[in-house]
Amino acid sequence: MSPRFLLLLFVMAGLVVAFAPLPVQSVTPQERTIDIDARQYTYSPSELQVNKGDTVTIKLISTDVVHGLYVDGYDVSIEANPGQTATLTFTADKAGSFRFRCNVTCGAMHPFMIGKLTVGTNNWLYRSIGLATLAIFGTVISIKQKA
């Protein structure tokens, strides 16, 4: 096979791995309430798992200074004063994995006060590992061809 054709083949395969629609598992959406404690510089729990379509209510309780919680990709946020509970409700309509992070300067390590919300499965991770696998095969085959 000509190297150009091979390259084209692998690029196409890469596009499929990256963008092909996956069958959606239909789970009935639920209402979920999650209590999160915030302290310098961590949330607990810091890893959340919900299903796509769920209505998520986060109750943020700060145990030391004022903290916030901003969800990447959803662009929603709340702030909680020490000892008070702040409530944020949103519909988890985008699947994937999102960082949530403090958006109120709360001390030195503030920029790294981070948690992780996974909605459904983190498909992009698996797609990325798929792409890496494909990349390796492509490279090895092209090396073999040259040899």
Binding site: Y41, E47, Y70, G107, P111, F112, W124, L125, G138, I143
Partner: protein, 443 residues
Amino acid sequence: MAKIELNRNPFIENALKSRYPQLAVFIVMLVGYIFAILAGLIGTPVGSHNFSIVFVWIAWWAVLILVAVPFFGRGWCAVCPIPLPGEWLQRGAMLAPPNKRPKWLNLRVPKMFRNIWLQNISFLLLALFSSVLLTTPNITSIVLAAMLFAAIGLSTIFERRAFCRYLCPVGGFIGLYSQTAPIELRIRDKQACVKCEGKPCYNGSEVGYGCPWDVFPGGLTKNTYCGLCMECIRTCPHDNIAVNLRPFSADLAKPTTRMDEAFKSFIMLGSAMIYAGVLLGPWGMLKDAAYNVGSNSWFVYAGVFLAIIFGVLPGLFSLGIYQRQNNIAFKQRFASLSTALIPLGMMFWVAFSLSFVLTNASYILTALSDPLGLGWNLFSTANTAWQPMLTSILAPAQTLALVGGLIWSARTAQKAANESWTSSMPVIVYCFLLTSVMLWLLL
């Protein structure tokens, strides 16, 4: 792909030959550097609102790792302010060489230090304290000032730029990754150098200084130790120095044979992964351990950090490339094959930095108007709300960087493996495994 000599263009040639454009940039950089030191000391202790943290660790870092190193190699070193005060003092001049030589010790650096182990160590020292360094203005100031003074001190004791060559924690990895850049400084014609009397590019002349980086331009085969200071363009009487545009990673076709350089690859690869996990991951315990310097958990963190870099990563690598029957000594194969980790390591840093920089870039606007966090509003951007940038393309961009780095490394592995008559497969598999871990950490 052929090389293009950029300084064939008379405008570029003159801009590089003249000392004034570079001096102008130097002065701006030095003023910024000193301002960063002062801001860290007198400004707000809140890192994300202090010029020192925001401009060093967000703005400068972003430019360095996302643009300067990948595209210009040691381009940053060409304008870096850190060695300047020492160099000016050592020379007794800011521009062209004066008639009388100042009397400093001008010693040669002892042979045992003429490698990058000290740079490996200085980088690791900073890396172990990085959570504090990255977030605490006065610590950043102290480190910046310490580098300035160390460079001055070394300039008075040793000849040339000893700090840059052997101690600078930043210079070590810039040198390593500069090999991947599409820019190089090389001679045009070998014969001209052979015939050249006095070798003014190395020994200096009345028009300029001998290579400050202790490199003989005539022998350059890779970017690692040429600081792109442009001095040899000024001194070479035969117009024999070219600044070339060339294919990416051209230097990696000649794998390294040195252990200090090999370990630099592991140090950088490992640190990028550890940072991705500790700083950007959701694990509060790790952050606590990394931040509370001196506590028991920090010692455990430091131990694990070093174990990963000096044990786990090179250990797995060695297992992969170990062979009974191969005439080429194991050490040599280890060093040579580690060259393959250079593109991957750089892309790990790109992927890590993209997340950190895009999330925090809005602080640059705030700090620009209120550099000390004292409530100023110089350019009416002080109240810009914090807002992550380009969140929707972050994950695809990271995947692209990491998978691209993986392909790049696999191809480099193939070349290095050919040189040492061995298979590239173990190295490729190793790179794939590390990439998968990094994807998992970041996505």
